[in-house]
Amino acid sequence: MIAITPPQPTTLLALLGGIALTVIALRLSEYIPRREGSMRLSSLSILVQWRVAWLSLAAVVGVLAMMTVGLIVGDFPVSAADALRTALWDRGGEYDFVVNTLRFPRVTVAILAGFCLAASGAIFQSLIGNPLVSPDIIGINNGAAICAVFILAVGGNVSLLPIAAFVGASSTALLIYLLAWKRGVSGARLVLVGIGINAVLAAGITYIQVRFPIERIIAAARWQAGSLFGASWDDARTLAIALAFLGPAAVLLTRRLRLLQLGDEAAVGLGIRVERDRLLLIGVGSALAAVAVAVVGPLGFVALLVPHLARLLAGNISGGVLIFTGLLGGLFLLGADLIAQRLFAPTVLPAGVITGALGGPYFLFLLARHNRAL
């Protein structure tokens, strides 16, 4: 029996302070004008959305601040000065293990995984034209989960988990795409097929859970909640390498995504190869989600909630908005993980519990708002 201690007053104070800061930041963001300008250098040119640029800068500052908090805060008391010194220039020493082996990789993984999940959600939501869609809803997370749970249930090698999760997620995405194909893939059909696949996968997971010994299933359940516990530099490297390829690809593809948003016919009229570009976008979106889930488990609601919030703040999808969405995703997951660690300290919750607890109500709010609009 684990006794859950009530939150420390300082933790609650910090939490309230965080919420207050968020509200103030959101309020302030209303004063950033929606101005645009071009940057041109001989035959190179780009349209700069100044509002998105400022918001992104604010998000970067937020991420850095939250990272600092993540390095300082924890069960083992390390002063702010010591933590930063150890992390930045004075490697080794007394706090090296706590700061550089436990905390630093963990905050890095949170930022990168949050970035991947949010960017994936933004791609799917824009492509399908529905703010209630995300890779977790159409079964990509569960595709990763069923493979990972199976490995854990049969007592397989734990180091295989990321690979199994990635294979599960990407083959699920492929299966959905193939099943939704009928002289082309329409957004609505993709979602419906995805929801169906998701249900089948959920049933499959339940079957594995009742079929295998309970001790192993507990480990599987913990993985399924989505957690950053034990995140290592290897995990961070995996995510960073994936993001180095998928991030630029996603940003470049948003140009075509913006035209696919106008419907297939208008997109063809503007010179888009609709099916090829849609397949590319689904591929990149699924890979982003798959990589994140492979490392941190199927963290719910990040991919659903963050893109919506980003759109509210920064506007319709563009390369810049996609980057902002990713940064906001990193900030969100990092914050959620810190809350998960500190809220009932020393009892630690999986980050997925917090993203779910924040995301669920937001989803209901979205649903209510959306239904009113219909």
């Binding site: 824009s126 063809v268 009229g269 319709n316």
Partner: protein, 272 residues
């Protein structure tokens, strides 16, 4: 608007047959779109007029024959290059929630942009000019969902104009608009044709609008062209009856002098 040294584009269909997998909707026929004029495709529901427009705009690949843009098969040309010559406004296009007018119009520039040349001075000029010519300059920062049907349609036309194509294809551009807005949109298209020599091809539901605004009519029934030519030649009582299966009287439009088709229907007997 297009490069001055380029010849005006021509659009023609050769022995075309169209269908969606099942039986053919449009049987083989030839047609040429007169360059620099307004062409209207008319005919009863299900006659294949939208299907023909879809083929002309390369949305539908012909089962046989070919659509020729400047003498070349449109499906053999790179689609992005076709998009610099031929603009399309589909019927009932969709737009993402919350999109603002200028953002929509900007997307029309895609065929002219390259990966690292995404917002040149000519892109900006084209968008400003398109907003100006469609008279929605003051709406540029408004959300599309907040606009009236007529204003929204103007925004879509502005997007197609920003594409700067000498050919413009429109599928029923006046559907779902009230009579004042229908006139408004058709007047706008007529102005674009007169001032800029743009070739306009549109599917129109209203026969009298077609007679008034088009230089050239293509009348279809059951997937074949029944008649083709100037409104005065096509809109005769016997031809219209054979196309729509409806007896009409053709008089001169009191405003423009173009043919005006007045359906006979049962009203003649009711009046007596």
């Amino acid at each position: 608007m297009s490069e001055p040294n380029r010849l005006p584009p021509t659009l023609a269909v050769e022995q075309i047959a169209l269908g969606y997998g099942g039986p053919l909707i449009v049987e083989s026929f030839d047609a040429a779109i007169p360059t620099g004029q307004v062409t209207a495709i008319i005919g009863p529901n299900g006659c294949g007029k939208s299907t023909l427009l879809r083929a002309l705009s390369r949305l539908l690949k012909p089962k046989a024959g070919a659509v020729l843009l400047d003498g070349q098969d449109i499906h053999r040309l790179p689609t992005k290059e076709v998009a610099t010559r031929l603009g399309l406004l589909p019927q009932g296009p969709r737009a993402p929630e919350g999109i603002v007018v200028s953002d929509l119009v900007r997307r029309g520039r895609y065929p002219h942009q390259r990966l690292f040349d995404q917002w040149s001075a000519s892109d900006e000029e084209a968008v400003v000019s398109a907003l100006d010519r469609t008279g929605i300059d003051d709406l540029r920062d408004r959300q599309l969902d907040e606009l009236s049907g007529g204003q929204r349609q103007r925004a879509w036309i502005a997007m197609a104009l920003a594409q700067e194509t000498p050919l413009l294809l429109l599928d029923e551009p006046t559907t779902f608009l009230d009579i004042a807005h229908q006139m408004d949109i058709l007047d706008l298209l007529a102005t674009l044709n007169e001032n800029e020599g743009r070739t306009v091809v549109m599917v129109l539901h209203d026969l009298n609008h077609a007679c008034r605004y088009a230089d050239h009519l293509i009348a279809m029934r059951d997937g074949t062209v029944i008649a083709e030519g100037e409104p005065e030649e096509v809109a005769t009582a016997s031809l219209i009856e054979s196309v729509f299966g409806l007896p009409v009287k053709v008089i001169d439009d009191p405003v423009t002098g173009t043919p005006l088709c007045v359906p006979v229907g049962r009203s003649s007997t009711l009046a007596k």
